[in-house]
């Protein structure tokens, strides 16, 4: 049982109690059903038999009344008191007799039937007695019947006296019948009484059984409760003891439960917890030692920090002075940057003018090139003119040579003419001289023409060179244009940069002022830090004391 889980234990206990209760309920229900069946039988059969007996008594009264009426009517008829009185009707009495006979037979059949289906032996015996008494009553009726039939015969014969004389005999038979009927009633009453007794017995039996089972259930529940209480509370009290000792600082406690239920688990967990607490206490103790050492160091460090804070305050003051100088130089930088930006803008304007003039220069170079080319054309045309002159000179030279030849031949002819040709020889000589001079002149002209040609060639070459140089100049102007444009772009960028510098310097000024303000705050903060450091020193001392307290507190734990 010790290894069974508590839940299982509770389930088993409550299950047993519930089963007992269910058994009790079922038993009570069965007994109740039996009781109800008995009561129903009592109600139906006993009342029915009583009713049948009452009907039989009523028929017997009617028979008696019919006999009396017949006798009265016979008497009246004999005394002629009633002329119209019909004859004595024997049939009324016979009819009632037959009715009673049927009723008795019915009751007898009922009793026989119920005897067979009776619930108890006693009631069966009672029904058998009812059956025998009813048979006796039927026999008494059968015995009465001839007497009455004889009386009716006497009355019908008019022998009233004999008829009256037979009355006592009839009365005796009637009394017998009535006695038998009384016996039957008594038997039925007995039967009823027996049924009631049985019902009472059954009720008592049921009550006793229910009481017994109830007591059994209560006892079982109490037993289960005590058992469960013992199996749970004893370990719990052990736990409580252990936990109280642990709470007092004794961490050496152990439960060492070997149970396998929840309490065993709880015990093992408690052992684990105590083990963990022991480790924690060990660690805490070592930590407290370390903390003590650390707080001592903190104390020393805080004292150093106090000294450093004082130095820091001095340094902040120096930095503040330096910042003021930086702010002053920042103002100068801003002013100079503004001046530079202004001059750069002026330079930008000048470079625009420079671009224009360079473009003009390029245009002028172009026109110079065109004019130089025109000059070259003219000079080339001049060269062609000198060529024409040269051709003319060639012609003149040819003419001079021909004149020379003519003069020679003329001289020959003059010589051949002898003395007559002497004067002609003079003419021929003159002609030859002229031709020689002409030729000399043409040589001079040709020489001059050569000089001119050389000069023209030189001029053309010079002009070509000039055109090339003009082209170079134009390219240089283009280069200068591009350069100036680049320069302008650079200058504009510089202007923008300097404007940004100016803006940046302004922002810088603001920033420097903020920094100065911040330094002022830092100075204040340094003062506060000095104060705070003194407080820290105090706090470190307190911390040191606290850590020693902690160490002492940790020594309380036994591990």
């Amino acid at each position: 049982m010790a290894n069974m889980r508590i839940g299982t234990r509770l389930l088993l206990a409550f299950g047993a109690i519930v089963l007992l209760t269910i058994f009790l309920g079922l038993y009570a229900l069965a007994k109740d059903n039996q009781l109800q069946a008995l009561t129903r039988e009592l109600d139906s059969r006993d009342f029915e038999s009583t009713d049948a007996l009452l009907g039989i008594s009523r028929t017997e009264d009617q028979m008696r009344a019919a006999r009396a009426e017949a006798l009265v009517s016979a008497l009246l008829r004999r005394d002629n008191l009633a002329a119209q009185t019909p004859g004595v009707p024997e049939q009324d009495w016979t009819k009632y007799r037959d009715q009673m006979t049927g009723q008795l037979a019915d009751l007898n059949a009922m009793a026989t039937n119920w005897q067979a289906t009776s619930l108890t032996a006693e009631r069966a015996a009672a029904w058998r007695r009812v059956h025998s008494t009813v048979q006796e009553a039927a026999a008494a009726l059968k015995a009465l019947s001839p007497e009455v039939e004889r009386q009716y015969g006497l009355m019908n014969a008019g022998n009233i006296t004999a008829a009256v004389g037979s009355i006592p005999t009839i009365e005796q038979a009637v009394n017998t019948l009535q006695a038998r009927l009384a016996d039957a009633r008594q038997a039925v009453a007995d039967q009823t009484r027996i049924g009631r007794t049985e019902v009472a017995d059954l009720a008592a039996t049921t009550r006793n059984s229910v009481i017994f089972v109830l007591i059994t259930t209560v006892v079982a529940g109490v037993l289960f409760a005590v058992f469960i209480q013992r199996s749970i509370t004893i370990p719990l009290s052990q736990f409580v003891q252990v936990v109280e000792r642990v709470g007092q600082g004794d961490l050496t406690q152990k439960l060492e439960f070997s149970r396998r239920d929840e309490l065993g688990k709880l015990g093992r967990s408690l052992d684990g917890m105590v083990r963990g607490l022991r480790e924690v206490a060990n660690q805490t103790r070592s930590v407290a030692e370390s903390l003590n050492a650390a707080t001592t160091e903190i104390f020393a460090t805080t004292q150093q920090q106090a000294a450093s804070t004082a130095e820091q305050a001095a340094a902040v003051q120096e930095a503040n002075a330096t910042m003021a100088e930086i702010v002053q130089s920042g103002v100068q930088i801003t002013d100079r940057a503004k001046k530079v930006a202004a001059s750069a803008e002026a330079t930008s304007t000048s470079s625009a003018a420079g671009i224009e003039s360079v473009q003009n220069t390029a245009a002028i170079m172009e026109s110079i090139r065109e004019q130089a080319e025109a000059v070259a054309e003219n000079v080339v045309a001049l060269s062609e003119k000198t060529q024409a002159i040269s051709e003319i000179i060639t012609t003149v030279n040819d003419i001079a040579e021909q004149s020379h030849l003519l003069a020679l031949n003329a001289a020959i002819q003059a010589a051949a003419a002898g003395e007559h040709g002497r004067s002609f020889a003079v003419v021929a000589s003159e002609m030859r001289n002229l031709a020689a001079q002409s030729k000399q002149a043409t040589v001079q002209v040709r020489s001059i023409l050569g000089d001119i040609q050389k000069a023209i060639s030189s001029s053309v070459m010079l002009t070509e060179e000039a055109v090339k140089r003009v082209e170079t100049g134009r390219q240089q102007a283009n280069v200068a244009d591009r350069t100036i444009r680049d320069l302008t772009g650079n200058i504009e960028e510089s202007v923008r940069a300097f404007q940004q510098i100016v803006g940046g310097s302004s922002q810088q000024q603001i920033g420097f002022e903020q920094v100065t303000e911040a330094f002022r705050n830092i100075g204040i903060a340094s003062q506060e830090a000095a104060t705070g450091t003194k407080q820290s020193e105090k706090a470190a001392a307190n911390l040191n004391a606290l850590s020693q307290q902690l160490r002492r507190a940790m020594e309380k734990y036994r591990v």
């Binding site: 001289a411 020959i412 010589a415 051949a416 000589s429 030859r432």
Partner: protein
């Protein structure tokens, strides 16, 4: 840096105008004409004094050949022809330079250089053919350019050196005057 050489445009224009004026007035300006005529007169006067033809003496025609000057008696020369190149004749002797056609007549031309034993150095520029009277007809002599005609006084004649077989005599300035017959008839 190059030296700045600036032209004086005013001076240039003035010079141009002057040149134009000179050019325009060359035919009409009497001063220029007078100067020219003066120069010619002086030239004529100078030539009369130095190189004027002597009235008395032997007239000779001086010409060049292979950078030497030679002369022929003017009387033996009938005509100077220039601008006509002798056409070589196949199978002709070496001393015949070729033939020329002159006014519808074919004339043989001899080579003076060959005759003088000089190497054939043609001065094709100024190749001249002298027509010489020889017997009944005329023959051509291929010579260099003709310089002119001179009259040498009889007393100025000098004897030719012995070595110069074709020379008849020599002038004072050492010009050999050739003997036409000796030249032409040497080899028949």
């Amino acid at each position: 840096m190059k030296e700045q050489r600036r032209i004086d445009w005013n001076a240039a224009r003035a010079r141009l105008a002057e040149a134009q004026q000179v050019l325009e007035s060359i035919d009409s300006d009497s001063a220029v004409r007078k100067r020219t005529f003066r120069a010619r007169a002086e030239s004529l006067a100078r030539s009369d004094k130095t190189a004027g033809p002597e009235m008395d003496g032997d007239s000779i025609m001086i010409f060049r050949l292979a950078r030497e000057r030679y002369a022929l008696p003017l009387a033996s020369v009938s005509e100077v022809v220039t601008g006509v190149e002798p056409v070589p004749v196949p199978g002709a002797p070496a001393r015949v330079a070729g033939v020329i056609q002159l006014r519808g007549e074919i004339k043989p031309v001899f080579s003076l250089a060959h005759a003088l034993g000089l190497s054939e150095s043609r001065d094709s520029d100024a190749a001249t053919v002298l027509l010489l009277r020889h017997g009944e007809g005329e023959v051509g002599l291929h010579v260099g350019p003709v310089e002119g005609v001179r009259t040498v006084a009889a007393g100025a004649r000098q004897a030719a050196p012995e070595m110069a077989r074709h020379a008849a005599w020599m002038t004072a300035d050492l010009v050999l005057v050739l003997n036409v017959d000796a030249l032409l008839d040497e080899d028949g």
